[in-house]
Amino acid sequence: MSARERIAGNVANYVDERTGAAAWMKKNLQKVFPDHWSFMLGEIALYSFLILLLSGTFLTFWFDPSMRHVVYEGSYQPLKDVEMSAAYASTLHISFDVRGGLLMRQIHHWAALIFMAAIVVHLLRVFFTGAFRKPREFNWILGIALLTLGIVEGFLGYSLPDDLLSGTGIRIAHAIIQSIPVVGTYLSFFAFGGAFPGEVFIPRIYIVHVLLLPGIFLALITVHLMLVWYQKHTQYPGPGRTEKNVVGYPLMPVYMAKAGGFFFIVFGITAFLGAVASINPIWLYGPYTPGQISAGSQPDWYMGWLDGLVRMAPPLETHAFGHTISWNILLPGLIIPGIIFTGMALYPFIESWITGDKREHHLLDRPRNVPNRTALGVMSLTFMLVALINGGNDIIATHFDLTINQIMWFSRIGIIVLPPLAFVITKRICLSLQRADRELVLHGKETGRLVMLPHGEFIEIHEELSPAKKFTLTQHEQPKAIALVKEDARGVINPKGIRAKLQARFSAANAENIAKPTAAEVKELEGGHH
């Protein structure tokens, strides 16, 4: 035995005698992970979170989360002797008087943007492939919680420097809180320790941002990952892959190397962005004061859709019995986002109710094979995109020679008209793709090679698909719709009533598919067909 092996043996023995670790290590070192690039999107989010923890901790060593008034005495001349909060001054200090401070600030902020973007694309992947189905519904809910908390965490984070842009964002958040009926003014006075802006808001959100939310994140992410570990990752359908197996690479050494390497790559790209692209140049924004505002004020991208919704809201307020309800704030600021996030969280249950499918699923769907779900996803994306675009309407107007009024009206009408249009178009595209798949399986792939037959006809040679490809294109299920049972054999009317009717309707729409070719049909056409 070599020296290295002896030492390793001693260490392993030491640990195992105290924890019994060898028992679970033995099978987990060989745990199989399917390998597909779309399974790495969640990893981007995970690694970004780690980068945020590391870079954020660095920043806390210099940041002063206090709103007490100071006069700037640092090295950035255009703000010399300007009155500002200690929070803003300490951020300037980090940016200009701490070596690597600006780099770490930028890495932290770029990592936050990547974190949210990765969560969104990961969510889209999980949604469009149906990975949220049983037994993973709870993991989906955890994901939605992570998304929501991520948005809040990011907002609080970029508000910490107390600059003009983020301070404006806080002003808007304050207005949303204040507009809540009955308790709004109390909540806002409690949150801000009095009238806006007060002296305590930044220190309070600091603790939420560096302690409370990261703690919750760590807990939720741990459970999220443990569930993936325990339930095993899903996999794309293909030859050799079934609902009862996982095909991939073992944790050690391949997955460790690739996933570990990917962490360094994500960190490296984020560091690269921090080196070459300026983000959140607070010294240009100036310190926050409620009497100032900049043209083109937007929140970070993951809140842009909220801003867009608020901008396009109709100017509705009701005044009755000495009280005011601001629908123009409540609807876009709280009610619609509430409906969206609740709907997203409940979606696995809604879909299993529509399909009546209560089985476990470990093989993913190809989006074209579930046209209703795919169309619903594209419809939601369209809604969010119209809102997001409207959030930047003034920047878009100046750069593309449009007017804010045009863009606003486009958004107001578009957000109602475009999503259903997107649904219909997407569903039709999915069905067309199903038809194309059917053609491929039955008639093979076009090769572009022309041949002249003896009697003069020209035909294109089609290449038959491999059995593996044929299997991949036809392995999916095409469940039938749930039939509406009005009354049972003894004449008892269905107690579920309207719910059953709705279920039957949705189920019928959901089951609209192009019938996939069967083995019999393929056999029929096999041999000598072009």
């Binding site: 808007i172 204040q178 690479y249 391949v254 360094f264 490296g268 921090g274 080196a275 399986v441 059995p467």
Partner: protein, 330 residues
Amino acid sequence: MSKELEPLADPGLPEHIHRKADTDPIAAKRAERQVAVLFSLSAVGTLLFIYSFFFIKEDQFIFIPIMGSTNAQQLGIGLGMAMSLLFIGFGAVHWAKTLMPDQEVIAYRHEMRSDDADRGEFVKAAKEGAELAGLGRRPLIKRTLAAAAGLAGLPAILLLRDLGPLPGNALNETSWKTGTRLVTDPGDRPIKASDLEVGGVAQVMPELPAGKKRALEDIAKDAVLLIRLRPSEFQLDPERLSWTHEGIIAFSKICSHMGCAVALYEQTTKHLLCPCHQSTFDVTRAAKVIFGPAARPLPQLAITVDADGYLIAKQPFTEAVGPSFWERKS
């Protein structure tokens, strides 16, 4: 399922295709060298970081195309850090891809559901435990426990009471009183009517008593915009017209929508635009909302001149300034 609907058979895992490095030792050696180069580049990145950190001055700037002129030290340490991290990653991934085994492995799933024996035992244990606790037989314990637990949560909520004061009448009041002078912001200079030209705008604050500092909380409700038009351009009712002075009109600068500063004045259209959500207010009609999500016009401040000719507030605001709230009567 009938024979017609039988799906195509699963042909099983495809045959494994070997990589060059699997069979050819020269290719394997080449891959090894490539991985080594990548790891070495990472070390180069670290060296670049160290050099930039200690030897590039903080006030040195460097011009890079597209990026413009930027601080050299920040760029150096950033690129150094990026390189040192990236190439470890690239090296590890390339190593895994070319040299580590890439044979696909199959593992098997079992149903998540526990088997019936385990379930039965769990149910038995849970039921037994509940029996032994005796809650079912002792409703008095159950009820008092529920009451105690519910009440025990109250202190946690009550402790939050001192987070802030009650709003009281604070939202309805500003610092503007009858006779308060309008002063420029910044500068704190009192303003005469002749100081403001037609088509001009001024950011104003209420004059502070000597020695007092203006707090941000005051700015958040006191900020006022002073605009001068030709008197003939107003389309106001007689009362509101009496709140103006020689074509000068004053509005709260705090947007009635969500509180941003509505400071964008278009001289040609006589419109005020709030840059946050594009609410547009018509100055000639007492800041009536003509576009955007704001539901109320900006509160108008009644102004006149004092004995020395300086602009003063005639009376406080007749309504609360800023965004709406539940207790707001209109």
